[in-house]
């Protein structure tokens, strides 16, 4: 095996030196009846040539990722321009083959990157403290809910129904044994935003109000108003962001009064990669710093007064506090946090603003064109960033598969995947990647493939 340095002769010599005659004797401490007496039934070794051919063959079975396919699929994972430098930097072995910076003297590269990442997350979310990252946006949200319970010592959490359904499922899993009552609040079916009735659910037992903005339907929430409602009963406002590019144009959740902000950082230079690895951003107020889950990097000095960085406030963490820790998280998403840092520093202040502006303009254009089509409408009136719901005159799931097969377009996400009663609704996402020609092609395809005679044949 080419990854194992020693030759058979060297191995034999080493075995001799440790007093053994055969490699099998290395496992004498395992009871005999537990030792596997056969070979594993896994494939025989492949050469690089064979292996790559196999994976290329499988990759070709994913037409959703084909170059010719234009896509308007978002809903928590977004296609954006990724500067070439991002992959080059994360491919440096000094970064990707290092581990958690337990030894600061020889890990300053990783540590300074995380310090910059924490700073960028604070700047974008409008918060004072950010951690070194979480697994993804969904688990970051679950951790935020657990933290809100710790901070307030209250046990009820109100979650807006316009939060990403998979995020809500994850929160539900995390809190099921934590003594937290998770209450789902309906969204306003006219605006697509959090309902104004939501305030009625808030009371002095409420630990947190959880909202997403822009929400799952692409509508931007009035975060400041929601913060006011939460704070009026002494609850925290937890804001989730799945499309982090929005932070380049929208008022930061922190500036709106949020107490904990979590976000999915995939939009910052991370490929779609069928759902992961992505990176969760987690930020809060300084007064809650000691309740934050996960790793934190802080500034430190050596005896000569030289600045460096170390993992700090570790007494919150599992390796010291064990069952009393703020979270069980150990490994986070270091390399993906690096990718996000490289992305944000490359795009910079102006680039992030420009990407956000292009998303908004192209989305507005697409929404206008689609809303002019016969039979199509846009059911929600709330302001939008780069996603919006379309109501089709036909079954949306059928329409999406027809767009894929006839026009090679991924038209969006049929909402019936999560909302069984919304059979004709689909969610469209437009980013800087989608050209005007692609948008026009989508509009054209929608207008023809959903013609009445078509629909008839489908129903029959």
């Amino acid at each position: 095996m080419r990854y194992i340095p020693n030759s058979p002769e060297e191995r034999a010599e080493m075995l001799r030196q440790v007093g053994l005659n055969s490699a099998a004797q290395l496992f004498d401490s395992i009871p005999k009846d537990l030792r596997l007496a056969r070979e594993l039934d896994t494939p025989a070794a492949l050469s690089e040539i064979e292996l790559l051919a196999g994976f290329e063959r499988l990759a070709a079975l994913n037409p959703g990722a084909a170059r010719e396919r234009s896509s308007f699929l978002g809903a928590g994972a977004y296609q954006h321009y990724i500067p070439t430098v991002v992959d080059h930097i994360i491919s440096r072995s000094e970064f990707f083959t290092a581990y958690t910076p337990y030894q600061p003297e020889i890990s300053q590269g990783t540590l300074q990157v995380i310090f910059e990442f924490q700073t960028l997350v604070c700047q974008l979310t409008g918060m004072e403290v950010a951690n070194a990252s979480m697994y993804d946006g969904s688990t970051a949200l679950a951790e935020a809910v657990l933290m809100a319970e710790r901070v307030t010592r209250r046990s009820k959490v109100i979650a807006c129904g316009a939060v990403h359904p998979e995020y809500l499922e994850v929160v539900n899993t995390y809190v099921q044994h934590a003594g937290i009552e998770l209450v789902h609040a309906d969204f306003d079916s006219a605006t697509g935003q959090a309902s104004s009735d939501l305030a009625k659910l808030l009371d002095d037992k409420t630990a947190a109000l959880v909202v997403q903005s822009p929400n799952f339907f692409g509508c931007i929430e009035d975060v400041a108003a929601l913060a006011e409602k939460a704070h009026a009963v002494g609850a925290l406002l937890v804001v989730a962001v799945t499309e982090s590019i929005s932070l380049g144009l929208l008022k930061s959740p922190g500036a709106c009064g949020a107490d904990i902000v979590v976000a999915e950082g995939q939009s910052f230079g991370v490929p779609l990669s069928f759902g992961g690895p992505y990176v969760g951003l987690f930020a809060t107020r300084e007064k809650y710093a000691r309740q934050i889950p996960g790793r934190l990097v802080g500034e430190a000095y050596d005896k000569q007064g030289r600045r460096g960085f170390v993992l700090t406030l570790a007494t919150r963490e599992q390796h010291i506090r064990r069952e009393k820790a703020t979270s069980n998280i150990c490994t986070n998403e270091g390399l993906i946090a690096l990718a996000a840092t490289v992305y944000l520093e490359t795009m910079g202040r102006r680039g992030l603003q420009e990407v956000a502006r292009q998303c908004v303009q192209k989305t507005a254009y697409a929404a206008k064109r689609i809303s002019e089509l016969d039979g199509f409408s846009i059911p929600f009136t709330g302001p939008r960033f780069n996603e919006f719901v379309v109501r089709a005159p036909v079954n949306a799931a059928d329409l999406m598969s027809k767009l894929a097969s006839d026009r090679n377009i991924t038209g969006g996400l049929a909402l019936s995947r999560y909302f069984t009663d919304r059979t004709n609704d689909f969610l469209v996402c437009v980013t800087e990647i989608n050209s005007r020609a692609e948008i026009d092609a989508l509009v054209d395809a929608l207008s023809t493939v959903s013609e009445p005679e078509d629909t008839k044949t489908q129903i029959e």
Binding site: E10, M14, Q17, T42, S93, S273
Partner: protein
């Protein structure tokens, strides 16, 4: 006496400020195509009060060259596997193959959206299915979910499955009496933290003087019917195979509990022994340890959860399953196979992560398994254990080895022989840096005073092992003859030991502009 250090010497190390200190107004590092649709005033689209009003102040403005130099310079301050042996115990820092990186970047996978239709993602789903099959064979446990994103996440998933199973078996009322999770005193801190997240209280099992789970204490704790399960690492964190594993499983099962195995140390077992054959009910694996996906400076990981047939209904959803399309069953991977997402598991603990988990890590792990083949997997296990045994022998004279039993893939030593001169484990670790090695895991497991846990993995050759042993012996000599040299180490790095206590007392967790920094 200055010892001769053969492996490292000082070289140019650039200084590099924080990017925020480098930023210059007006520098640009990107270019986008011009906007090709009408440029509508943003205020017509989004209410002014919803828009950012600080012009993203503070975000850096740098050129692409600035970015490349910034990160390249910082990268040179890191130790990495590619530089040399990285013997962090229980972390399995093995070689991260470039081929696996290439596989993960194939555009048909890298550009695939997780909400693509099943028709649009058959190849991606097949990858998940095949990896599940291989992991089932390797662990002897047929139920698999690849959704957990890391080891601790897999632990949480496994422990929640135990809870859901017991709740279903005993009914809510009876099972509410069964809320104790047993964890050995040598366990990783994530074990008790994960158990707590699942609503269990933790009771600690003692280890014997020989370094094994104390069976009498286990029996005692199992009395009374409160025990839901045991979380056991095997080989344990002392590097020893729990030789009584079958008896341990029997005791826990007879008490009505289940056995969870922390698979952090599976690199000692792949192809040699299977947790499923030992009586273990559920286990997590670390693809970023045993299956070589890169550690990435602290993630991403992937922590698959593998369980018995009995526990399968409780795994997270969606499950990735294979079905035949009406045509009679053909050979595996025939074109008749269709891969599907199956949400229909009403007893499932639920979803633990959006989408399907850290998919890119699954590609790399499958590539690892295919590159090694079944014989290569066993060969890697043998090499990993042989290397640890070689170090155990090589250091036994100079360092205190607290447990007599032969280690598996990692070995623990202590600083007992060095403390007389005031040299402690931390100092030995720091001095090792001067010899060109990343230190071992230190002060873990907690039950061993001054622990040094060394895991060489299979990715180290004979000569480098000898260099490591020589370096450690040399440090042992220095500790006797010139303790100051060791106490002030490292001497070769760009910064010295940092004042971590001060950093924690007044934490500075982000950069701020100068004026703002003094204001708060």
């Amino acid at each position: 006496m200055k010892p001769e250090i053969t492996k490292v010497t000082s070289h140019i190390s650039h200084n590099e400020a924080l990017i925020f200190e480098r930023s210059q107004t007006g520098r640009i590092g990107y270019r986008l195509p011009p906007l090709d649709v009408d440029d509508v005033p943003i205020d017509d689209l989004i209410p002014k009060s919803f828009q950012c009003d600080n012009d993203l102040e503070g975000l850096p403005e740098v050129s692409e060259v600035d970015v490349i130099r910034h990160f390249t310079r910082m990268s040179t301050w890191n130790y990495s596997i590619d530089l040399g042996m990285y013997p962090l115990g229980s972390c399995t820092m093995k070689y991260n193959s470039r081929l696996n990186e290439k596989v993960a970047r194939i555009s048909g996978f890298a550009n695939l959206h997780p909400l693509s239709s099943e028709d649009d993602a058959q190849g991606a789903l097949q990858v998940i299915y095949e990896l599940q099959e291989h992991l089932a064979e390797i662990t002897g446990l047929p139920g698999i979910s690849l959704q957990p994103a890391a080891g601790a996440h897999g632990e949480m998933t496994g422990v929640m499955i135990i809870r859901a199973f017991i709740d279903a078996r005993d009914g809510a009322e009876v099972s509410s009496q069964r809320r104790t999770m047993l964890i050995p005193d040598s366990a990783h801190g994530t074990n008790p933290a994960s158990a707590h997240l699942s609503g269990f209280s933790v009771k600690t099992i003692r280890s014997t003087a020989e370094g094994f789970t104390d069976l009498d204490h286990l029996r005692e704790l199992c009395e009374g019917g409160h025990v839901a399960g045991l979380m056991l690492t095997n080989p344990n964190t002392l590097g020893l195979f729990e030789k009584n594993i079958q008896e341990i499983c029997r005791i826990v099962h007879e008490a009505g509990g289940l056995v969870y195995m922390d698979g952090a140390n599976m690199n000692a077992l792949v192809g040699v022994a299977r947790p499923g054959d030992m009586g273990v009910d559920v286990i997590h694996l670390n693809l970023h340890k045993t299956f070589s996906t890169p550690h990435g400076g602290g993630g991403p990981g992937c922590g698959p959860c593998c369980c018995t047939k009995e526990l399968e209904p409780f795994l997270p959803v969606p499950r990735i399953v294979r079905s035949k399309t009406g045509i009679p069953a053909g050979p595996a991977n025939s074109t008749d196979d269709v891969y599907k997402l199956d949400f229909n598991y009403p007893q499932s603990i639920g979803r633990v992560k959006a989408f399907f988990g850290n998919y890119g890590m699954m590609l790399r792990a499958l590539s690892y398994i295919q590159t090694h083949g079944h014989d290569g997997l066993r060969e890697a296990t043998e090499a990993a254990v042989l290397n640890a045994r070689y170090i155990a022998k090589g250091l036994a004279g100079e360092y205190d080895k607290p447990f007599a039993a032969d280690p598996m893939h990692e070995v623990v030593f202590t600083d007992k022989l060095q403390t007389r001169k005031g040299v402690h484990t931390l100092d030995i670790a720091k001095r090792l840096i001067d010899y060109g090695f990343h230190p071992m895991t230190i002060y873990f497991p907690l039950i061993v005073s001054g622990a040094m846990l060394i895991e060489p993995t299979e990715s180290v050759g004979h000569q480098e092992l000898d260099q490591f042993i020589d370096a450690m012996r040399s440090i042992a000599r220095e500790a006797l003859e010139d303790p100051e040299l060791v106490l002030n180490a490292p001497h070769s790095t760009r910064i010295g030991r940092l004042d971590e206590a001060a950093a924690a007392r007044r934490p500075v967790l982000r950069w701020k502009p100068k004026q703002a920094a003094t204001a708060t």
